[in-house]
Amino acid sequence: MIFRRVFPGLLGLSCLFFFSGCGSQPRADLVLCNGAEPQTLDPALVSGQLEGRICAALHEGLTRRDARGKSIPGAAQSWKISPDGKTYTFTLRPDMKWSNGDPVTAEDFRYSWVRALDPATASPYAEILFFIRGAEDFQAGRAPVAAVEVVAPDAGTLVVHLKNPVPFFLSLTSFTTYLPVHRATVEKHGDRWTRPEHWVGNGPYRLKAWRVNDRVCLEKNPAYHSPERIRLNRIDALAVTRASTAFNLYSSGQADVLLDKGLIPSLILPKLRGRPDFHPAPLFATYFYRFNVTRPPFDNPKIRRAFSLALNKEAVVDKMTRGGEPIALSLTPRGVPGYRPPEGPAQDEDTARALLRDAGFPNGQGFPRVSILYNKSELNEQVAVEVQAQWTRALGVQVELRNQEWATYLRSLDTLDFDIARSSWVGDYDDPLTFLDCFATGRGNNRTGWSDATYDHLLARAQAEANPASRFRLLEQAEEILVSRAMPILPIYHFVGCLMFDPGKLDGLLPNLLDEHPFAEIGPKGK
């Protein structure tokens, strides 16, 4: 039979590929389930957290994160800040080398930042460099590259001029888009420079292999400036998307760490509470609904308020998310020292009904049918079903569910083709501005059609304010407009991050607000 002849051949051919790459080597010192396949490992192009984690192991910024997520000296050994808070002068470590032996210079940082801003690079995160004077104009094509006020007077000094005082700038300099890249490698290999055979970096680890949809293999970088700091020789970051699969890998010992709540099946979350290897912690991220304020009925602030007041958020987190998420009364989660997020109104069904009556819809009579738009996911659907039931019961209105797949959903958001839409936002840096700036007039992430001159003005004033305390008061006033008065959004809950690892075996993994877990900090317990 032909099957006997052909298929052993096919099998043999396939086996050739089976035992190739890093998978056939002994198990890495640490195996992490990192989430989906990384879309890119080019710091200028990264927009996701899972890629950011790997980049932070491969490249070191002027500052780096410690296990608590705090920014500490990295490639820069010290810095001076001008009295007006607008000029930062960084002094680089003298002994810093790229993985190919070239010295890391201040010019490398200038090049990397300008590259991320260059429209030809098409960085999805270029905006995060706009705090630098001249950066926005250069990216928008209104000014030449010389307008970007980052200067490298010598190989060891980098001077950065900012548009405004940015109290969190030292947190930004450890952000992925601010990481340095090796100019000669990028220019020689173009888009392909992140392949393991070309890649050059300055971080504690170097890129050994990268197998599509399988794993990224990292190994200790001997050229790193403080090799004694690196606790593990080899780390594999697995690409796993399905929560049950990630959890199975962890339970069977094939993976040591689950880095994301999305990798833990939500059904078993309540059972995991109390287990020593389950580590939940608040995250700097919020799940919320957007109202489309450009068309009826949600162009009426009273109706937006009525819908907000009618929602029992506790029921949503208790019944649906089940990870111990705190309900959200503000957009900005708690946890930024000195910032007190203003709280929007709590649930009040009587007032909600009265507001709807005032708007001309007593007991919901005559209220148009509205829909909740969400992207296809089990959790989004469960939350939407719960919210739908609550609004129907409390207000007597008819709410439909509108489920779209990812790309279509994003287009509906961008074209404001929705009544109410589910959304979430994860803070990029530990400051409320990362949330509040989204809703300034004309911002790409506004996606509600809402515009408020006072809000914009307060944000602008806050950004120009040098005194951190006064700056926070201005941001609080802005947020109050957002969550208590105009209410173009309805915050529902703040996310909780969940790590899973055995604390008896590993340390250096500490839950923190920004969910930063630098790989170089992780190691066997006590060693």
Partner: protein, 306 residues
């Protein structure tokens, strides 16, 4: 034979072109941009990306640009996995799906055919109804149930096999079986039906009258013509099974090509989707050709040149 092959090859060309063009256009027409993300992208950056990847201008222009690149042997770059070529992604993931798929395909036929033959030989007996029910059960159990249940039983209950992962032979066993099981049932039912038909035909009756033993009748004389329907089914099945399965790959963390069919469409990663569809199309044509050739080998009434 050569004429047959040449004719089939030439007639496949318009099919491949039509499939590729249709796939490209459908993904491009679908609402949403491949570059859209939760964090909004400004119009200028989007335009830069569209120009870079040859997705600017009208749809026919884009299609022509893509077509001319494919003719030069360039399947383009992935839009989602920046810096990776489609050829590289397929080159890495297809062999893994081929490995699992070829094991499953072999299992499906190696177990399905004897089971079907046994059931036919036991026609209307206890064995027949038992295997019939078993075949129905395997056919009607979806992989998204079968795969997690088999992980529960064999990985966590009996602790015989690893629950997921890629790199050791033991990690191949569960996914290969889970992928094969529905097709074992299908192969068994087709074999049984084919055999029952054949066993009632004149030449079998004649052989029986000559005193040929029942076993020799079934396995030596009747089986060859009886598996013709199975051969016709096995062509598309092989293409299907060798290009992986989203569910099996996700449940067992297999870095195969199957998930790119679905995720590529969700991400509007037009070049990646077109690339994997091209591979699927090619395999389908190849295995259908092989099935036709096998049919001619098995059935003396069929001549390829006619």
């Amino acid at each position: 034979m050569l004429t047959f092959l040449a004719r089939r090859f030439i007639s496949s060309i318009p099919v491949v072109i039509a499939v590729l063009a249709l796939c490209f256009l459908l993904v491009r027409i679908a609402p949403g941009s491949p570059f859209a993300a939760e964090r909004a992208l400004d119009a200028r950056t989007k335009a830069v990306l569209e120009t870079k990847y040859g997705l600017s201008g009208s749809l026919p222009e884009q299609l022509l640009r893509y077509g001319s690149r494919v003719l030069r042997g360039d399947l383009g770059d992935s839009l989602k996995f920046r810096g990776r070529t489609v050829a590289e992604i397929i080159g890495q993931s297809l062999p893994r799906s081929l490995l699992i798929g070829s094991i499953s395909f072999t299992l499906a036929l190696a177990l399905g055919i004897p089971l079907g033959a046994y059931a036919a030989a036991q026609h209307r007996g206890k064995g027949d109804s038992f295997f019939n029910s078993l075949a129905l059960l395997t056919l009607s159990t979806p992989t998204f149930v079968l795969a997690p249940v088999s992980v529960l039983v064999f990985a966590f209950g009996l602790k015989l096999l690893p629950p997921a992962g890629w790199g050791t032979p033991s990690q191949l066993i569960l996914p290969a079986f889970c992928l094969a099981i529905p097709f074992i049932g299908a192969a068994a039912r087709l074999t049984r039906a084919g055999l029952l038909d054949t066993l009632n035909s004149d030449f079998v009756r004649a052989a029986r009258a000559k005193g040929v033993s029942e076993a020799s009748l079934v396995y030596r004389h009747a089986l060859r013509p009886a598996i013709l329907p199975l051969v016709a089914y096995a062509g598309p099945l092989a293409a299907n099974i060798l290009t992986g399965s989203l569910v099996i790959e996700e449940v067992f963390a297999i870095p195969g090509i199957g998930q790119f069919f679905v995720n590529g469409v969700i991400n509007r990663d037009v070049f990646l989707v077109s690339g994997v569809v091209l591979v699927y199309c090619f395999l389908l044509l190849l295995f259908n050709l092989m099935a036709d050739w096998l049919t001619a080998l098995l059935d003396p009434r069929i001549r390829l040149s006619s």
